[in-house]
Symmetry: C2
Subunit: 595 residues, 2 copies
C-alpha cells in the first residue's frame, strides 16, 4: 500500500500477498477505508445531476472506448485507479436508477444501508449450497424463508389479521393442508429448521423463481408411479382382465419426468401434450420457463384479460373445460399475476384458486413485484387469495428494495421441493441439510442476511410506508393525467404502476367519431408520437418513463403506451408533474404534430 | 444518524428519509464510513482463529436461536446494531472459508479488493437485463465477455502463443468457422460490440451456465424447419413420390423445440429419445440440466473414465456408434470436463473434439473450475482442445476469485445464442441491444465490472501466480501423502485438486494379499475410518478437507476418499503437513482402530 505512486506495476508474489493478506498496519487500513468512503459518496455525486439514461452520447460513441479484447499480462491499474475510473468514467455513463425522476422501470433507489449489507455478504463469501461452506447462514436462510412464507400463508401475524375476517376462526386453528386454511405458529415451529422439509428457496431472481415453481409443478404433475408393484401388493383384484387387455401400450412403471424426460412422461400418462395457462399480461419469463422445461412456449397459453386488465375468470374456466374435454392434454399449472409488469394489476387470485382447487391444478402466483404489498396493513388485502397458491414468486431486488440479484420462491406444501431434489457424493449427500439439494441454482451468496437485516432495520411498517407511498402517489399521478387535456390514462394504477399516452387535441376529437378503420390509423399516428416523446425525454436525460404496447379498448388494436413505476419513496407528485410538463413541451416541439 | 441511542425505534417518514436520502453532513458520512471500516476489518477478526466449520456447537444448538418466524412490525435494530450482531454473533458461526487451512471446497479467500468492487456494484445497482437500466455496463459486459472468449478461442493473445505451435500459421489467419482455427483480432473487432451477435453471457453460476449451454444445444439440435416452403421453392423435384408416400406421418413444418416442446420435437425429427453424453465425473448440474430441459436425467448418459479418471475416448466412440446404429436416439451434446469437481482432472478435449466434429455433435466443455488455468503461461496447455468446443462454462466465483455469485458461458458461434432469444414489449424489444434477450436469467447485477477491474488489477500474470501456486503446491502435497505410511493417494493432482485416504498399516498389509471379497470388507472398514476422521477434523475446527466417494481401482468398489482443493495462495506445504499431522493424531485416537 505504501509503494511509490509512479512505479510500473508487476505481477509478483509480494504484490499478491499484499492483496490477499489482511492489512495489519493502520496506514494500510486507512487507505482501504478511504477507498470505501470514495465508493460510498463519490459514486453518488452524479445523482444530483440527471437520470443519465444518456449523457448526450450515442451508443456508437459509448462503445468506441470498449473495444479492446486483449487482457493485459501485467497489472494495468491499482485499486485506487480502478475506483477513480469507475467514479469518473463509468458511473457518469451508467444510469442513475436512484433518481426520483427515474420512474420507468422496476429498478430504483435502494436504502443506503444495502451497500453495507452487500459488502458484508461479499466479505463473508459464504456459499449456501452446503452447510460446510455456510453453516449459520444456511440456518438463517431457512428462518428468513419461513418469515416470508408465514407472511403469505400464516394466520397470526399482525399484518394478516385483517385478511382473516372472512374466515371461520375455528378452522384457522386446524393445521390440515386444506388450501382454505392459513398455517398456525405451530406449523412454522415444525418447519422453520426442519431438515426434511423446505418452505421455499432463495433464487437469483424472479425468472429463476418462476422457473423453479413451474419445474416443481411439472414434476408433480408427471410424478413417478409403479402399477406393477401396486398390482403385486393386491391391487390386481380391482382390474378386470378387460381393463388390462384394453391398454396393452400402457406404461406400468414410470420413474417421473425428471428422470425419464418429457416424451416418456406423456406416454406414461397417455397424453399428447401438456400446457401452462397464464394471464395474457404475465411476465415473459413464464413463456421462457415453458420453453426451457420442454413444455414448449407455444403451450404456454395466454388467457385473455378483462377491461381492468385482470385475467378473465370465465375464459380461464372455459379454456380448462375445453382442454379437459379433449382428454389428451394435461394442465401442469395455472399462473396468476400479483403486480403485472406492465400494469401492476393483480389477477383475481381467489377466483383462480377456486377453479384450480376444483380441478386439482397447481396454482402458481407470480408476485415478483406485488408480493411485498402484503407488508402493508392498508393495502395487503389486495393480494387476498395468494394464501391458496401452491407456489409463489417474490423478488428481493424489487419491492424489498434489495440490491440485484435476489428472488425467492415459496411452496405451500413443505414437501413439494422434493420433486426437484438432486444429490451428489461430494456435496448435498442424501440426508444432509445442504440447501443446494433443492435449488435450481448451484453456488449462491448468502442473500438471506441482507433481507433479514433489512426486515429488522425497517420493520413491516417501514416497508409499508414505501409501499403505501407508491400506491397513493400513483393514484395522484393518474388523477393528474386524467386532468390534463393532452393525456389519456390507459390503465388505472391498482398498485404503483400505470400506463398512459399523449393524445393531441386534434386527434382526440377525431377519435370520438372515427370508425374502426380510422381508429386504427389514428392509433398508428399516436404510436409514432409516443415513441418519439419517450425517446426524446430519455435522451434529454432529466427524467425517464418506459414504454410498452397494450391492447386499447374498446378496439382490439395494440397501442404504444408510456409506463410509470412509482417505486422510489422520494418520487412525489411535484416531480411527476415536472415529468408531464416536459412531455407536453416535447409534444409541442414535434414539428409535424398539430396539438 | 444523530438520534439518541436509547430511543424506541419507530417506522416513520422521517426515519425513512434518513435511510434513503444521501447523507450530506459530515457527521453522517463519518458514521457510515465507520460502519464500513467495521465490516472491512471486524469481520476478519475471526480469521486468526480456526476455520470455524464448527465452533463446538451442534446444528441443533445452532438452530435453536433461529426459530422466530414473525417479522416485527416496528424496526428492531439500527444499522449499527445489525452490523455488530453480524460481526459478533453471526460471523463466528459462519465458516471461515478464507483460512489457508480450509482446503476442502472450491470456495476460499478472495482478494481484499473484491469487497470494494462488490460494494460498487451494489451502490450503482444497475440491472444489465436492458440498456435503459445499465447503459455503459451493458457495453462493458460485452467487452469483458469478448476478452474471455478471446482467451478461449482467440489466436494472438500472449497466453495462447504456446498453444499455436502445433498449428499451421497460414491457417490461423483464415477467419472461417472451422473449429480447428483460432479467431483473429479482426473477428473480435467485429463482434465485441456487435448488437446482433453474442459471444456469451454472464450467468449466476456454473449450474446456470451449463444449463444455458445445453439449452442452446438442445434448441440447435431440434431447430425449426419448413419442408413445405422448401418444396414450394422447387425442392420437390428432389423427392420421388415414393419418398413422400412412405412418410405419411412426417412433420412438414416445425417451429423448433423451444416453441413446440419436447414431444413434438422428437416426432418432427422421427426420434424416440434424445441424450447427453457426459464424463462419469461430470458435475451434478449436468444431470440436473437434463432433468430441467425435458431430456430426462436418465438420458444424461455417463461415459466411463479410464485409470486416470479421464473420460474414456474409446467408450465415448463406441457409445455414439451404438446410439447412431439404433437410429432412433438423437445425441444433443457431448460434455467434457476441464477440472472435474472431485479430482480436478481434465478430459482429453482434443480427442473429444475430433469425435464431435466427425459426427457433427455439439461439444460442451464444463470448465467452471479449470477455465482460468488458460491464464497460466506454464499450464495453459493442459486445456488444449477447449478452443474447439461449441460452448464453454467458466465460473467467476471459482478461480477468477470473484465473490459469489458469478458464472459465464461462451459460444464459438456468435449466432448460437439466437436459439434462446426472447422478446417482450416493455424490455428486450426486437432489434434492441438489451442483453436480457439471450439469457436464462432475467434481472442481473453488473458482475462484469468486478471481473474487468480484477483483470486490470491482477493482469493475466497475477492470476497465473495463483493458478501455478495451486498446481505446484498440490503436487508437493501429493508427494507428501505418498511419502507418509498411513496415507494412500487416490487421484494424482492434474490441477490443484487431489484425493486420498488414510489406511492403517495393518489394513494396508491385508489389502495386498486380499481377494476381491476381502478387499470389499477392508474398504468398508476404511470408509468408516475416513468418514470418522473427516468429521472429527471438521468438528475440531482447525482445518477442513472434504470427502466424496470414488471408484477404487483395480477393484470397482466405490470408496470414501478425502478431497483437497488448493486454491488459497496462502495455503502452503507447511500448512498441509499440519493438516496431515492432525489426521494422523485423529487416526490414533480412534480407539477401535489398530494402526
Amino acid at each position: 500500500m505504501n509503494r511509490p505512486k509512479q512505479s510500473k506495476l508487476v505481477a509478483d508474489w509480494e504484490r499478491l500477498e499484499r492483496i490477499f493478506i489482511r492489512p495489519e498496519d493502520d496506514d494500510c487500513k486507512e487507505v482501504l477505508v478511504k477507498y470505501m468512503e470514495q465508493i460510498l459518496f463519490g459514486l453518488h455525486e452524479f445523482i444530483n445531476k440527471n437520470v443519465g439514461v444518456t449523457e448526450e452520447i450515442s451508443l456508437k460513441e459509448l462503445t468506441s472506448s470498449f473495444n479492446e479484447t486483449l487482457i493485459s499480462p501485467e497489472p494495468e491499474k491499482r485499486l485506487a485507479d480502478v475506483i477513480s475510473d469507475i467514479i469518473y468514467q463509468i458511473a457518469p455513463k451508467a444510469v442513475n436508477v436512484a433518481s426520483p425522476y427515474f420512474v420507468g422501470h422496476m429498478t430504483a433507489a435502494i436504502p443506503f444501508f444495502m451497500v453495507h449489507l452487500k459488502a458484508i455478504v461479499a466479505a463473508l463469501n459464504q456459499n449456501v449450497i452446503k452447510l460446510e461452506t455456510s453453516k449459520v447462514l444456511s440456518v438463517l436462510e431457512k428462518q428468513v424463508l419461513a418469515k416470508i412464507h408465514r407472511l403469505i400463508y400464516g394466520s397470526n401475524s399482525e399484518i394478516n389479521k385483517n385478511l382473516e375476517l372472512s374466515k371461520n376462526s375455528d378452522l384457522i386453528e386446524n393445521e390440515k393442508f386444506s388450501k382454505n386454511l392459513r398455517f398456525t405458529e405451530e406449523f412454522y415451529n415444525t418447519h422453520v429448521q426442519n431438515v426434511d422439509t423446505s418452505l421455499g428457496s432463495f433464487t437469483t431472481g424472479g425468472t429463476t423463481a418462476n422457473l423453479t415453481a413451474l419445474w416443481v409443478a411439472r414434476n408433480r404433475f408427471f410424478k413417478p408411479f409403479d402399477n406393477l408393484s401396486e398390482s403385486q401388493s393386491g391391487d390386481l383384484a380391482f382390474h378386470s382382465f378387460n381393463d388390462l387387455s384394453k391398454k396393452v401400450d400402457r406404461v406400468e412403471k414410470f420413474d417421473g419426468i425428471e428422470s425419464e424426460g418429457f416424451a416418456q412422461a406423456l406416454r406414461a400418462y397417455s397424453l399428447d401434450n401438456a400446457v401452462l395457462l397464464v394471464s395474457k399480461r404475465g411476465h415473459f419469463s413464464l413463456r421462457k420457463a415453458g420453453g426451457i422445461l420442454g413444455i414448449g412456449n407455444k403451450n404456454v397459453i395466454p388467457i385473455d384479460v378483462n377491461a381492468q386488465c385482470r385475467l378473465d375468470v370465465r375464459k380461464l374456466r372455459s379454456t380448462i373445460r375445453d382442454i379437459k374435454q379433449g382428454g389428451r392434454t394435461g394442465i401442469i399449472a395455472v399462473v396468476g399475476v400479483a403486480g403485472a409488469t406492465e400494469t401492476g394489476i393483480i389477477d383475481p387470485l381467489d377466483d383462480i384458486a377456486d377453479i384450480c382447487e376444483g380441478y386439482g391444478i397447481h396454482f402458481h402466483v407470480d408476485a415478483a413485484w406485488g408480493g411485498p404489498v402484503m407488508l402493508s396493513e392498508k393495502y395487503g388485502y389486495k393480494l387476498k387469495g395468494i394464501e391458496r397458491a401452491d407456489s409463489v414468486t417474490i423478488d428481493g431486488h424489487k419491492q424489498f428494495f434489495m440490491p440485484m440479484t435476489c428472488g425467492m420462491v415459496f411452496f405451500r406444501d413443505p414437501l413439494a421441493m422434493n420433486h426437484i431434489a438432486y444429490h451428489s457424493n461430494y456435496v448435498n449427500r442424501q440426508g444432509s441439510v445442504d440447501l443446494g439439494i433443492k435449488t435450481l441454482e448451484g453456488s449462491r451468496e448468502a442473500n438471506s442476511l441482507i433481507l433479514d437485516s433489512s426486515l429488522k432495520i425497517m420493520g413491516t411498517r417501514g416497508y409499508a410506508l414505501m409501499i403505501d407511498h407508491g400506491i397513493e402517489t400513483a393514484k395522484q399521478f393518474a388523477d393528474e393525467i386524467k386532468r390534463r387535456e393532452l393525456f389519456e390514462l390507459i390503465t388505472e394504477p391498482e398498485l404503483n404502476i400505470l400506463t398512459y399516452r399523449m393524445v393531441p387535441k386534434e386527434i382526440k376529437k377525431h377519435l370520438k367519431t372515427a370508425d374502426p378503420a380510422q381508429i386504427k390509423i389514428l392509433n398508428q399516428q399516436l404510436d409514432n408520437i409516443n415513441i418519439a416523446i419517450q425517446r426524446k425525454q430519455r435522451e434529454a436525460g432529466k427524467s425517464f418513463v418506459s414504454r410498452t404496447r397494450m391492447t386499447y379498448r374498446p378496439s382490439s388494436d395494440e397501442v404504444v403506451v408510456l409506463r410509470s413505476v412509482i417505486m422510489n419513496p422520494m418520487t412525489n407528485i411535484t416531480i411527476l408533474n415536472e415529468v408531464l410538463d416536459e412531455q407536453e413541451r416535447l409534444l409541442q416541439s414535434l414539428s409535424d404534430v398539430k396539438i
